[in-house]
C-alpha cells in the first residue's frame, strides 16, 4: 500500500480497524528495528571526568591529531563514577584522585598503562607517578597523574568575620543556612577528621569515625545544600546565597575573574591537597585514542593552560618552565609539588571507602 492509497483509504473511511492495527504495528516494528545511527563524535575516546575537565585546553594535542575533543560525560563524585563504570558504563579513561585509588584497584576495573606509548611520561614528577596505589604490585603503571591542587574553604571576606582561617568556619552557627559542603563522602569525612585532629584523616579509627559522624550531623542543619558541581558553589557564592563552602582552586580563579570578593582559606588545621589523574579502563572501547588522550593531557602545553586558566598544578615539570613566575606566585603554586604537599595535608588512599560512604549516607538520611 503506497502513501497515497493509505491516505485515500483513511479519508474515504475505507480503513477498517484491523487494517489500522496492521499499519500501526508495521510502523512500530519499523521504528524498533531501525539502526540507531550515532553521531560521529561517538568514535572519539570517552573521557569520564569532572565538570569542566573536558575543555579543549586540557588536551590540545588530541584535537590536533583527531580534529575533535573526546566525548566528556561528567560525574559529580568519584564514588558515583565507580558505581557507573561497574554497572556497565563503557568509557576509556576516568579521572579519579589519589584518595580513591585503592578503591578503584579493589574494584578491578582498570588495565595497566604502557608508559612507553606516552611521549610525555618521562617529564612527569616522579613523586606523582609513584604515589601509593598508582602502580601495581609488579610496578606496572595504573595511574597517570595530571593535576594537583587544594581543597579548602572558599569564603566571602566581605560577608564573613573571622579571626583566623579554620575549617571551623563550616560549622559557624552565625552563618547557618549560608554554608555548603561537598557531597563527596571521602572528602567530607576527611574534613571532619582534620578538624578532630585525627592522625590519618583519610583512614579514621572507629572511634574517630563516630566522632566525625557527630560533627557532620551537627553541621547538616547549618548547610544550605551539599554541592555536587563547582559551578553551583560558584554561583551561590557570587550571589551571596552562600558565604562559605568547601571548594577547589579553580573556583577562586573563576570568581576573582568575575570580580567577586573571594578568599581561599589556609586553615590553621592544615589545607588539604590532592593529585588527580587518569586511569585506563579494562574494556576501553577506543584504546589507541585513549593513549593519545592521556599523552595529550600530560603534555606541557596542556599544563601551561591548566595553571593559567584553572590555577591547578600540573604533573609535567616542563609546563612550569612555560609559565611566568609572577603567575605561579599569584596562583600560589611552587615549582615542585612535593613542596606544595608538604605545606598541607596531602590526601592518602582511603583503605575502606565503603565505610565512609555508609556513614555519610546515614548523616544525609538522618532526620
Amino acid at each position: 500500500m503506497n502513501k497515497r492509497e493509505l491516505l485515500g483509504a483513511i479519508s474515504a473511511g475505507r480503513m477498517t480497524r484491523r487494517d489500522m492495527m496492521k499499519m500501526m504495528s508495521a510502523a512500530g516494528i519499523t521504528m524498533a528495528v531501525l539502526p540507531v545511527s550515532r553521531a560521529k563524535a561517538a568514535d572519539e575516546a570517552i573521557n569520564f571526568t569532572w565538570e569542566g575537565y573536558n575543555e579543549p585546553g586540557f588536551h590540545p594535542g588530541y584535537i590536533e591529531k583527531h580534529g575533535a575533543s573526546p566525548e566528556g560525560p561528567y560525574f559529580a563524585d568519584v564514588g558515583e563514577a565507580l558505581a557507573k563504570v561497574r554497572s556497565g558504563f563503557k568509557v576509556d579513561v576516568v579521572h579519579p584522585c589519589n584518595l580513591d585509588l585503592k578503591n578503584w584497584r579493589d574494584a578491578d576495573v582498570m588495565q595497566p598503562i604502557d608508559t612507553s606509548r606516552l611521549s610525555n611520561f618521562g617529564n612527569l614528577f616522579e613523586g606523582l607517578t609513584k604515589l601509593a596505589y598508582a602502580q601495581g604490585d609488579g610496578g606496572e603503571q595504573y595511574f597517570i597523574p595530571v593535576d594537583w591542587g587544594n581543597t579548602s574553604v572558599l569564603y566571602r571576606p566581605d560577608l564573613v568575620e573571622i579571626e583566623e582561617e579554620s575549617w571551623n568556619l563550616l560549622w559557624d552557627e552565625r552563618y547557618s543556612g549560608q554554608l555548603s559542603m561537598s557531597a563527596d563522602a571521602t572528602e567530607a569525612v576527611a574534613i571532619a577528621g582534620i578538624l578532630l585532629g585525627a592522625a590519618d584523616p583519610f583512614n579514621l579509627t572507629d572511634d574517630e569515625l563516630s566522632k566525625a559522624k557527630d560533627l557532620l550531623v551537627k553541621q547538616k542543619s547549618l548547610l544550605r545544600f551539599y554541592w555536587d558541581s563547582n559551578s553551583t558553589v560558584e554561583q551561590a557564592l557570587a550571589s551571596g546565597e552562600l558565604v562559605a563552602s568547601t571548594g577547589w582552586n579553580s573556583s577562586v580563579v573563576t570568581l576573582q575573574g568575575q570580580g567577586v570578593p573571594i578568599k581561599f582559606a589556609n586553615p590553621k588545621e592544615g589545607i588539604m591537597s590532592y593529585c588527580c589523574g587518569l586511569v585506563l579502563m579494562k574494556d576501553a572501547p577506543h584504546l589507541d585514542k585513549a593513549y593519545d588522550l592521556i599523552d595529550a593531557m600530560i603534555a606541557p602545553e596542556a599544563g601551561k593552560w591548566l595553571i593559567e586558566s584553572y590555577g591547578y598544578g600540573h604533573s609535567n615539570k616542563k609546563s612550569f618552565e612555560m609559565v611566568e613566575d609572577a603567575m605561579l606566585a599569584e596562583r600560589n603554586l611552587p615549582k615542585d609539588p612535593n613542596e606544595f604537599f608538604a605545606n598541607g595535608i596531602f590526601q592518602r588512599p582511603t583503605m575502606d571507602a565503603d565505610r565512609l560512604h555508609k556513614m555519610f549516607e546515614e548523616v544525609k538520611a538522618g532526620a
Partner: protein
C-alpha cells in the same frame, strides 16, 4: 435453501468450534504482556531476590539471609523508618494539594466550558510537554535565592534595607516544603484529567432533579456531584500518591539537606554506598509501606463506594 445455510456456516464458524475469545485477546495483549513481564515483573523479582542477599566488597553474596530486613527494624535502622514515614507524609501533603488544586480546574472544564473543551485540555497539558527535570528546575529558578519570587519582592521593596525583610527569603528553597510545592505542580495534570472525565460523565439531569427538589447549589454539589466524581478523584489520588513517595529527582534538586526522601536513600545504597541488597530491601519495605497506606485509604473510603467507583 440448504445450500445457502451451508454456505453461511462455511463463512461463519459455529460458536462451538470457534477458538475461545480469550485466546484472541491474548494475542492482542501479547506485546504489552511481554513488556510488563520483561520490564516490570523480572526486575521486581530480581529486587526481591537481591534483598535477601548480602554485599561483600564489590560482590554480591548469594546466600539467603534476613539481615537487611532485620537492620531496618533494629535501632540502627531508625533513620530509614523515619525517612519512609517522612516520604509518605510529604507525598500525602503533595497529593492533597494536587487534588484540591485540580478539582476546581476539572470542575471548571466539565461544567463551565461549553465549546472548545479540547483546546482547554491541550492548554492544561502544555506545561507537561517539557521534561519532568525541566519543570523541577523551573521551580528551583522560581524559589531560589535570586529567583523569581525573591527578585519580585526586591523590585517592589518588600526585600531591601527599608522593606519587611532585610535579606532574600531563604525558606523558599531546600526544604521539605519546596519538595511538596514542586511535586504538587509537577503532578497536576495527572489529577485534573481523571477528575475531569468523571465529572464530565455525570448525567446533568441528576443535577436538575436535585435543584427541583430544593437543594441549594452547595448541597447539590456535596450530595450529587462530589459522590459521583469520586471514582476519578480516587484514581487521581492513587495516581499521584504512589509514584511521588519514591520520587528521587525532586528532593535531589530542591530538597537540600533536610528535604531528602526515601528514594534518595535507596539510590545512594545502589550507587555510592555500594550496598545493593540493603537498597533492594529498602525498596521492598517502601513498596510494602505504600501498599499498606493505599489499602488503609481504600478501606477508609469504604467497600461500597469502591464497588461503585469501578476502578
Amino acid at each position: 435453501m440448504t445450500a445457502i445455510s451451508e454456505a453461511a456456516s462455511d463463512q461463519y464458524d459455529q460458536p462451538a468450534t470457534r477458538r475461545p475469545e480469550w485466546v484472541d485477546g491474548l494475542w492482542l495483549i501479547a506485546p504489552t504482556l511481554a513488556i510488563v513481564v520483561g520490564m516490570m515483573l523480572v526486575p521486581l523479582l530480581a529486587i526481591i531476590i537481591v534483598s535477601f542477599w548480602t554485599q561483600t566488597g564489590f560482590d554480591l553474596e548469594a546466600t539467603w539471609t534476613l539481615e537487611n530486613y532485620a537492620l531496618l527494624f533494629q535501632p540502627e535502622g531508625k533513620l530509614y523508618r523515619i525517612l519512609i514515614v517522612k516520604s509518605l507524609w510529604v507525598s500525602l501533603v503533595a497529593t492533597t494539594a494536587v487534588v484540591v488544586l485540580a478539582y476546581p480546574m476539572a470542575y471548571f472544564m466539565a461544567f463551565r466550558i461549553q465549546r472548545g473543551k479540547l483546546i482547554w485540555i491541550i492548554l492544561l497539558t502544555v506545561p507537561f510537554w517539557t521534561s519532568y527535570l525541566l519543570r523541577v528546575f523551573a521551580w528551583k529558578v522560581i524559589l531560589g535565592f535570586n529567583g523569581v519570587i525573591n527578585s519580585g519582592l526586591k523590585a517592589v521593596g518588600i526585600i531591601g534595607p527599608d522593606g519587611l525583610f532585610e535579606k532574600p527569603l531563604e525558606f523558599l528553597l531546600y526544604n521539605p516544603a519546596s519538595v511538596t510545592i514542586t511535586l504538587a505542580h509537577a503532578w497536576a495534570a495527572y489529577a485534573v484529567l481523571p477528575i475531569y472525565v468523571s465529572l464530565e460523565k455525570i448525567d446533568r439531569s441528576y443535577l436538575e432533579a436535585a435543584t427541583d427538589l430544593g437543594d441549594s447549589k452547595w448541597k447539590r454539589f456535596w450530595r450529587v456531584t462530589f459522590p459521583l466524581s469520586l471514582p476519578g478523584t480516587i484514581a487521581a489520588i492513587l495516581l499521584v500518591f504512589i509514584p511521588t513517595v519514591g520520587d528521587y529527582i525532586t528532593p535531589t534538586l530542591v530538597g537540600g539537606p533536610s528535604g531528602i526522601m526515601i528514594g534518595n536513600s535507596i539510590a545512594n545504597q545502589f550507587i555510592k554506598s555500594n550496598n545493593a541488597p540493603l537498597g533492594a530491601a529498602l525498596s521492598c519495605v517502601m513498596m510494602l509501606a505504600i501498599t499498606v497506606a493505599v489499602c488503609l485509604f481504600l478501606m477508609a473510603i469504604g467497600k461500597k463506594r469502591l464497588k461503585g467507583a469501578d476502578i
